[in-house]
């Protein structure tokens, strides 16, 4: 990866397709903050926009790609990691970033997530977790907290939640991290670490869906929702491995796990090289 430390001021408009504005995210949605953090990280690492490839799925998170001035691929529901696997293997010169959501990555696309973690192909996966299917009107997702009201859990969610980071860690992801949107500079630093990581980096961004999920559950306006994320955060866990079960009100943040091992693309290319010139 081309890493040229930049001290220039970050101007987000340099990385946006301004002709696409206004964007379609709701007021108060945390996804925009995540996008800012990503682009800030891209800027600070000096990544060439021409080499940046953003692969996103379906849902609110999936629409982000269209606003970024890069090579952007808005693919099918749950499949961005599969598409990105092909792209990253075919084009190791690209900086591949996958943007997915809690439904996209943990429900319909769960199989691709665990195998992307296992394979450890170099790319950065941002899972924007807002606890709900926002695009389709607010149905329950695999990360919806217990008892929360959604349009398909009219009496409150009865199902237990997924801890995406523990899943990614168990499946073998090279780097696993989590951050809330409130701490944008910290989130930016975590994404930088992911982008610079020579393997599969999985980062869960705790986002918020104010308009649909927040309203339905009376969680207040966007600042209130975001501040409540901070209140339940555990700064003391920053940089350490998760050692407690995930609870919706206890979110360990920062780099949660590292599993340094060979990057798959390089492993395959070395294998292929050993076969070349030996064709009968």
């Amino acid at each position: 990866m081309a890493v040229a430390e930049s001290v220039d001021n970050f101007e987000i408009n340099d990385y946006l397709r301004l002709e696409m504005m206004p964007h379609f995210l709701c007021p108060g949605c945390g996804h925009g903050i995540a996008m800012r953090a990503l682009l800030w990280a891209v800027h600070e690492l000096g990544i060439d926009k021409n080499k940046l490839a953003i692969v996103s799925g379906i849902g609110c998170s999936g629409r982000m790609g269209a606003y970024v001035d890069a090579n952007t691929f808005h693919v099918t529901h749950g499949r961005p990691l599969a598409f990105a696997t092909g792209l990253a293997l075919a084009r190791p010169d690209l900086e591949v970033v996958v943007i997915t959501g809690d439904g996209d990555a943990l429900a319909i696309g769960g199989n691709h997530l665990i195998h992307a973690c296992r394979r450890n192909l170099r790319m950065t996966c941002l899972l924007l977790n807002n606890e709900v299917y926002g695009m389709t009107g607010g149905q329950v997702s695999p990360t919806t907290s217990e008892n929360r009201l959604t349009t398909t859990t009219p009496a409150g969610n009865l199902e237990p939640v997924f801890d995406a980071c523990k899943l990614a860690e168990a499946a073998g992801a090279g780097l696993v991290g989590r951050e809330v949107t409130l701490q944008t500079p910290t989130l930016k630093d975590l994404i930088k670490e992911g982008l610079a990581y020579p393997g599969f980096a999985f980062i869960e961004v705790i986002s918020d869906c104010t308009e649909i999920f927040g309203r339905k559950n009376d969680l207040g306006n966007s600042p209130e929702m975001i501040l409540s994320q901070k209140k339940s955060m555990r700064p003391d866990s920053y940089g350490t491995v998760v050692d407690e079960p995930f609870r919706p009100n206890s979110l360990p943040t920062g780099v949660l796990a590292r599993n340094d091992r060979p990057e798959y693309g390089e492993t395959y290319r070395n294998f292929a090289k050993s076969k070349q010139g030996r064709a009968k």
């Binding site: 099918t76 599969a82 696997t85 075919a90």
Partner: protein, 378 residues
């Protein structure tokens, strides 16, 4: 490939793999499924030798996604599967059609529906190959009937995918996939290979889905500076989503139209003794070979039989069928299914003259079986 000019004994599935590599395929993603797995196995051995990439994905859907991703990155790509896997791939086949991403999808047909008969032959996916993914979409479907034709049609599938920026489906029936025949593999220099048009003009104001004369806009390659957007949402020339009726009509209309305009390039068939045929057999794949034999046997008996064997199933070679049925009193459509292509034949020839011969019990249709039906009709 250059030193592989001696005749080789090879099965259809391996010929497909070698045809793909010869055509320039450098990325294959697949998932094990009978009776197509030999394609993946051969690709896993061949691709690394030529600097290509093979990956066994976690599922059929992921395989389809991975080849589209690699194609967007610039590779010529292929995947192979069979009935149940073909069903799973359908959504992403539609995505490839919508985003105009070249790819070759091989379906080695087995008995269905559902898990069906994994090791038995069938031709039950003819309509799925045409209409399997949702919405109005273009479909190119090729159906070889011999091991040599598998090689040739695989090469042609890549050329069509690259020329027209669209998915191409290669339907092979289980018999042909596992049939071992002696074929001479062509030298690399004997093959006419096509690479897709890559965008190389000005970056500013570039329209990745512009309406060009040939209806196939040049594709922007990531890293070349175009920073284009691809989406399965209906998009205008810019690549960004639109719901404006006139733009939607233009966008969907163009991806359908680009096939219509290139029918000459796409359509392929074998016409045998059709000039004076009073009874025309329309058959494809392994059934086409049985029909060829049956027609020869009928001629020996003095019956004016002929054969039209479509190698391109979709878009169907309509003009060729009209020409071949000029003098025909009967049109017999033997198929290893409950009747699928016969609907297209009926659409073109009318229902009056059509006779069907269907078998979906896991057995191929024999020449004798077709001859019997020819004699019955004559």
């Amino acid at each position: 490939m250059s030193n592989r000019t001696l005749p080789v004994n090879i099965q259809g599935n391996h010929a497909c793999a070698l045809g793909a590599v010869a055509a320039g395929c450098r990325f294959y993603a697949g998932y094990p499924i009978t009776p197509s797995s030999e394609v993946a196995e051969r690709m896993s051995a061949e691709l690394p030798k030529v600097g290509g990439i093979f990956i066994q994905m976690e599922d059929e859907i992921g395989s389809m996604g991975a080849i589209i991703g690699a194609s967007m990155g610039g590779s010529k790509v292929m995947t192979a599967t069979s009935g149940p896997g073909f069903s799973l791939k359908q959504e992403n086949i539609g995505y490839a059609a919508m985003t105009e991403t070249p790819c070759v999808v091989v379906n080695v047909m087995r008995g269905g529906p559902s898990t069906g008969m994994p090791t038995r032959p069938a031709q039950g996916d003819v309509m799925q190959a045409r209409w399997g993914t949702h919405g109005d979409h273009p479909a190119i479907v090729l159906v070889p009937s011999s091991v040599k034709e598998v090689f040739d049609e695989t090469v042609r599938a890549f050329n069509l995918a690259e020329t027209l920026r669209t998915p191409v489906i290669l339907l092979i029936d289980e018999v042909v996939g596992h049939l071992v025949e002696t074929i001479a593999l062509p030298k690399a220099s004997e093959l006419d290979l096509v690479d897709r048009k890559w965008a190389d003009g000005p970056k500013k104001g570039f329209q990745p889905f512009a309406v060009t004369d040939d209806m196939v806009p040049p594709m922007p390659r990531p890293g070349d500076g175009y920073r284009a957007h691809f989406t399965g949402l209906t998009h205008d020339e810019s690549g960004f989503p639109t719901q404006k009726p006139e733009k939607v009509a233009q966008a969907v209309g163009r991806i359908l139209d680009k096939l219509e305009r290139h029918r000459d390039l796409i359509e392929s068939y074998e016409a045998l003794q059709t000039d004076d045929a009073e009874l025309l057999v329309v058959a494809y794949g392994i059934t086409g070979r049985s029909a060829r034999k049956a027609v020869a046997m009928a001629r020996d008996k003095g019956l004016k039989a002929g054969l039209l064997r479509p190698i391109t199933l979709w878009p169907f070679p309509e003009a060729a069928l009209k020409e071949a049925t000029k003098n025909a009193r009967h049109v017999l459509v033997p198929e290893m299914n409950a009747g699928q292509l016969c609907y297209e034949v009926e659409r073109i020839c009318g229902t009056e003259r059509i006779a069907r011969l269907n078998r979906f019990d896991g057995e191929a249709i024999s020449p004798a079986h077709i001859l019997e039906k020819i004699e019955e009709l004559a």
